[in-house]
Symmetry: C2
DNA sequence: AGCAACCCATACGGTATCGTATGGAGTCTG
DNA sequence: CAGACTCCATACGATACCGTATGGGTTGCT
């Protein structure tokens, strides 16, 4: 049967996945309807079947980002009793990892966009609140007070985001030792 | 004398100032030739007199940003002997200030753009190296070792950048106490 | 087979923006 | 005053993108 392998029909989820891929590669500027369609090897006609317009896609991408980020932080900070400190260091390592640069580009894109769009700002705020709450809980289990747990949580995320946006290539330092020192400073054993 | 107050002719510097204003308000996306001309109450014809093309403007903006950021960090970290710790806390306060959000939008824009443009990446790297060197020098004067001085410098900038990109509004915390705790953690007295 | 629902291609009008071409008003200079 | 130089307006072609209109091919169901 020479069924010429018709490509599987796309659904909304596939379009959203493609949108994330474009944002990761080219930034939010590259997220154009026709460019996305080309990447998925179809035409605009298909896009406007699945989405009302470009804003509809944006909203879907934003919603997907929200859900995936909240699910991810809950997973990363889910610690067995007695393993809270290890979970914190694990979270720092994962989020500050060099391989996470695409994710950081998406983060930064959303946060810049949030400056101009209230709905996006609300989602970013929600994600940040959840992340802070997750690590704050771990710090509190470790016996820290309210303020110090909150402060360490804020420092943790500010560090991982900020570090990912820096270009330290020209600054002479022992990167491993520096990251190690910072990790201990944020989550003390 | 009814000299009808002809507007002063623009020069390159005025265009670059306008470009920064647009980037701060609308992000890099808003930095279009015609929009910028409209803001300066002239037409494109003027723009293409002062600049070869859009990339020429971008390059000029990038160069101006580089120079101003390097001059600024040198000014902020210029400490009288014995005042190094105060200078560090001053730097943290200035860069992490809420009123600095426009500057942060520009920072983030350049750093995202740097992901796609090697020249921009080189400038960001240069600025970061200078900033790290400036604070690193202060930490070393305070008697810290090489690695710890480098680590505290990295943590300092990662924190101020990262914190500016977070939306902590929904996270219940004593913001002042948290910032105070973090400041002490980065630059210990 | 017939019909409906799903998925997509094509063609079109409309807008925004880039860069160029060209001319003109004002100013400076010999 | 004549010409050169500076700075800007206007008009134009070209491109990229949005969203719509419309039709066609597939699949599943009856």
């Amino acid at each position: 049967m020479a069924t010429a392998a018709r490509p599987a029909p796309l659904d909304r989820a596939a379009w959203i996945r493609g949108a994330f891929a474009i944002v990761a590669d080219d930034g939010f500027d590259g997220l154009r309807v026709e460019a996305l369609a080309k990447r998925l090897k179809v035409t605009k006609g298909s896009f406007y079947w699945h989405f009302k317009d470009r804003d509809d896609l944006f909203a879907a991408v934003l919603s997907e980002w929200r859900d995936s980020r909240i699910a991810d932080i809950r997973k990363q900070t889910a610690a067995q009793p007695g393993q809270e400190l290890a979970a914190l260091h694990h979270t720092i390592d994962v989020y500050a990892a060099a391989r996470n640069r695409k994710g950081i580009a998406i983060e930064a894109g959303f946060r810049l966009w949030a400056r101009q769009d209230a709905a996006t700002a609300a989602v970013v705020e929600e994600v940040d609140a959840e992340r802070l709450a997750c690590t704050c809980r771990l710090f509190r289990v470790l016996g820290l007070g309210e303020t110090e747990a909150a402060a360490r949580s804020v420092l943790l995320y500010a560090y991982v985001f900020g570090y990912s946006m820096m270009q330290c290539g020209r600054f002479a330092m022992d990167a491993a030792a520096v990251k190690d020192w910072i990790g201990r400073q944020i989550a003390t054993g």
